[in-house]
């Protein structure tokens, strides 16, 4: 059937979209702070998969110089842009985790409902 053939041809892009929605569902639904930070990390990884899938050429070889003069190389530019993206995602994850350590030292819990209750109580007593 034509729909299944189109589905199999675009399998890389559909995988990237599915990973993005899994990450977004984790950020919106869960109550633990560390699980939400991991959801942000998964969303960033899905965008890297999308960028690499754009630069793919059917029947291509990796971009190292070969002896054969007429081969098709894959597009090297998205692979270069991903390296800077990885560093940004790692830096954001590490800073969020260090702020979570400070929140646990100050309030004693990392559950979102209990934190809302404790912060609101602290503002009333001030």
């Amino acid at each position: 059937m034509q729909i299944i053939q189109a589905f199999v041809d675009h399998i890389n892009f559909i995988g990237a979209v599915a990973l993005f929605l899994i990450g977004l569902h984790t950020v919106v639904t869960k109550k633990n702070l560390i699980k939400r930070i991991m959801g942000l990390n998964i969303m960033g990884t899905s965008i890297f998969l999308f960028l690499v899938a754009i630069g793919n050429v059917t029947g291509g070889v990796p971009p190292i110089l070969q002896q054969d003069p007429n081969v098709n190389y894959i597009n090297p530019i998205p692979s270069v842009l991903i390296l800077t993206g990885i560093v940004v995602v790692v830096s954001m994850t590490v800073y969020s985790l260090s702020l979570t350590i400070k929140i646990y030292e100050m309030y004693g819990t990392i559950n979102q409902d209990e934190l809302t209750y404790l912060i609101r109580e602290e503002e009333i007593h001030d």
């Binding site: 675009h10 390296l83 800077t84 260090s98």
Partner: protein, 97 residues
């Protein structure tokens, strides 16, 4: 009840995104819109300009060297940011430097 409504909303969102992805070009060959003159220039002239056989290293370190400099500054800034939050100065004898 609210959780089931949220999961249904996500499934509808997934359907809309898959429908809009079907327009993307599938058989990527040399006529795809993302394979333009910049890529052809890099592939044709990388060995003569820089002398390195690996195209990605030549783009990272020679043609786009400023981006790599900015990225090392981002790595440096992240270490400083985490150290400013977590490393408290305690006045206690017998602590290693």
């Amino acid at each position: 009840m609210k959780k089931h409504l949220l999961s249904l909303l996500f499934l509808i969102f997934f359907g809309i995104l898959v429908y809009s992805i079907m327009e993307m070009p599938t058989m990527q060959n040399q006529e795809a819109p993302s394979y333009n003159e910049v890529t052809e220039y890099y592939i044709k002239n990388a060995v003569n300009d820089t002398g390195s056989v690996n195209f990605i290293s030549a783009i990272l370190a020679d043609y786009r060297g400023f981006d790599t400099l900015g990225e090392t500054i981002v790595l440096f800034t992240s270490v400083i940011a985490v150290a400013s939050v977590l490393r408290t100065v305690k006045k206690k004898e017998g602590e290693d430097y």
